[in-house]
């Protein structure tokens, strides 16, 4: 455990130690706002560190890489955490969150994610994944004033635990097949000539189940809507964006490393992608609850991402990361809007409740419209170029059928993305009175909208950056 290693893991260190510090401090000074802000600053610092500080080592302890890719991911997750803290300012007050705990848990989740996406060995992957999953159990049930939070927590817990079991078993099998945890050797287990290939395959099957749970692929997605609905809105946002993104980001190089041997895995992914796109889209159609709809839509989007994931390579990776970014912006923004609408006693989620409120809260309503249309992939919003990239990649690498299905689903998806917009702007007022937003919320939402519009008309630089960081 040399100093160099610590230096190389500076951002994660900042996050984790910062988390501890905030925790300690929170015990003494019970001012919520302060700790949230401090936490946010720490996350930002971590992001800057990851972006600017050149790590001395390429790989730490044979578990975590410090490639550009890893650093990029770290920046991304740290920013997500910062955003979550920012959007939570008012929300935390309303629901009397313990400021210290909340901030510190989020920070540690950030650390876990960045470790996960930086993992170069199964041990590291396992630990990183578990690190932030554990924290999320708590964060989901963090709102101790309503039963739904508890139920959501329970559901996530049970499935998380089972998924952990599968993950561990998968790792164990792969280890049995290859005798190493490190990706580069472990992947050998799938080589066709390897006589232990069946073991490796079984291991991959278990792994895929675990991933399927984490990024909620069909048929492992059933928990998603319930958990998103029950969890505090900011946490739902984090779950839908960073928590999934980290896993995807971790598996992108892993699959890439498979090379030829990954053929079989890719076939399964192909199947899962189709299933996920279709089921996610259709299940979202009849939803009348904003958060559930977003949950199912995130399932569908995972389908698109899966397409990019299984294409892999430069094209697929570029499409994946770009899509992940714009998808996260939009989804997080949407949950942010829900957050800032929330009342003390309940979150406003049902369409019936937000009927015709678009003109009462024009800024947030139109922001939501922008987010949803971006998710639908309507130009000139960033979502369009995301989809564009995915279809482009799919066609380029001969997955025409996936592209076609993607097109069909995104057409159908338009219906459920338009519904909230219709409800907000085209129906007469409901009796509800939403909470007026606060500065932080406007700051964040404005930021998301601006980013979506900017990347919608000028995605060039981002695409180049993404291409640059790819492993």
């Amino acid at each position: 455990m040399s100093l160099l290693e610590l230096q190389s893991l500076l951002p994660q260190l900042i996050l984790a130690l910062g988390a501890t510090a905030v925790l300690m401090g929170g015990a003494w000074l019970e001012n919520r706002r302060v700790w949230l802000v401090i936490g946010m600053l720490l996350a930002l610092v971590a992001a800057c560190a990851a972006a600017l500080f050149e790590p001395p080592l390429v790989e730490v302890a044979g578990m975590y890489g410090t490639s550009l890719y890893a650093r990029f991911c770290t920046v991304f997750w740290s920013l997500c955490v910062a955003a979550t803290l920012l959007i939570s300012c008012r929300y935390a007050d309303l629901h009397r969150f313990g400021g210290g705990e909340y901030a510190s848990l989020l920070l540690f989740a950030g650390a876990g994610m960045s470790l996960l996406s930086a993992a170069t060995s199964f041990v590291g992957l396992f630990i990183g994944l578990e690190a932030f999953t554990l924290v999320l159990y708590i964060l989901i049930a963090f709102n101790r004033t309503d039963n739904r939070g508890a139920e959501a927590g329970l559901k996530y817990l049970v499935f998380g635990a089972v998924a952990t079991g599968f993950l561990a078993f998968g790792i164990a099998l792969i280890y049995t097949a290859t005798g190493s945890f490190h990706f580069t050797e472990a992947l050998a287990g799938l080589q066709v000539e390897n006589s232990l290939r069946p073991l490796g395959l079984a291991g991959w099957a278990m792994l895929l189940v675990a991933i399927g749970f984490k990024i909620s692929l069909v048929p492992f997605h059933l928990w998603t809507p319930d958990v998103y609905q029950g969890a505090p809105a900011p946490i739902s946002g984090l779950l839908a964006t960073a928590a999934k993104g980290a896993v995807l980001a971790a598996f992108l190089p892993l699959l890439g490393g498979l090379g030829e041997a990954g053929g079989v895995v890719k076939e399964v992914l192909w199947l899962l992608a189709i299933l996920t796109m279709l089921v996610g889209t259709f299940a979202a159609l009849p939803q009348t609850n904003l958060k559930r709809m977003l949950a199912y839509s995130s399932v569908a989007h995972m389908g698109y991402l899966l397409v990019a994931l299984l294409i892999g390579g430069a094209v697929g990776g570029q499409a994946l990361l770009f899509y992940l970014l714009v998808y996260s912006l939009a989804t997080f923004g949407a949950f942010g809007v829900v957050t800032s609408w929330a009342l003390a006693e309940e979150e406003i989620q049902d369409y019936a409740a937000i009927r015709g409120l678009g003109y009462l809260h024009p800024r947030r309503a139109s922001a939501l419209a922008v987010f949803l249309l971006s998710l639908a992939g309507i130009p000139p919003l960033a979502g369009f170029f995301g989809k564009f990239g995915i279809f482009h990649a799919a066609l380029r690498s001969g997955y025409t059928e996936l592209a076609v299905i993607g097109v069909l689903t995104s057409l159908i998806s338009l219906y459920y993305y338009l519904r909230p917009v219709i409800v907000l702007f085209m129906q007469d007022r409901s009796a509800y009175q939403l909470r007026s937003g606060c500065r932080e919320e406007y700051l964040l939402l404005g930021g998301c909208v601006a980013a979506i519009l900017f990347f919608g008309v000028y995605p060039g630089p981002l695409l180049e950056l993404v291409a640059l960081v790819l492993p």
Binding site: M1, A16, L23, A61, G62, L94, S104, I127, I138, A141
Partner: protein
């Protein structure tokens, strides 16, 4: 030879104990049986050359975790038989499991059919605590750090969740 025999014996014990554990109606009994199966497992570990792990198995699992379970069960005074139709009403939920069993069985059969390992199965091999400790703290120090953090925050979470509701605070007011 002796060891081989032990292996199968302990394996049988573990399986039977587990089987009993998961079928118990009363959680307390279940835990007790599970402790048995864990002891058997611990011995298996020892047999497979992992004395340290075996020790920890006993200490952490059988000792700590199971006791914790027991403690919670007591605390919540979950009466036995509270769980009506505990094996579920429909055979449908068994179907996937059976199929899964078949599938995994097929996997292993396939494996044995291929018999990639041939003669050299699990050898007699012994990881002394020293080597173990060496590897653990040389190569996996970082992991240990992370895991320790993890435990810390798990504790925090457990505390936060388990702590009783703070009454007499109107919503929205800053503590």
């Amino acid at each position: 030879m002796m060891a081989t025999l032990m292996f199968y014996l302990l394996g049988a014990i573990a399986v039977i104990a587990t089987l009993l554990a998961i079928t118990r109606n009363n959680p307390v009994h279940a835990v007790i049986y599970l402790v048995n199966s864990f002891f058997a497992l611990a011995l298996l570990f020892f047999l497979l050359g992992a004395p340290l792990v075996a020790a920890w198995e006993v200490i952490i699992y059988a000792g700590a975790i199971m006791v914790l379970f027991l403690f919670i069960i007591m605390m919540l005074e979950i009466a036995p038989g509270q769980e009506a139709g505990r094996f579920g009403p429909n055979w449908l939920q068994w179907l996937p499991i059976l199929l899964l069993a078949v599938a995994l069985g097929a996997c292993t059969l396939l494996l044995t059919g291929l018999d990639p390992l041939g003669a050299d199965g699990v050898p007699r091999w012994y990881a002394s605590p020293r080597d173990f400790g060496y590897v653990l703290f040389k190569e996996y120090a970082l992991a240990i750090e992370v895991v320790s953090f993890q435990l810390l925050f798990a504790a925090v979470g457990a505390f936060y969740v388990g702590r009783p509701e703070r009454k007499n605070k109107p919503p929205g007011e800053k503590p």
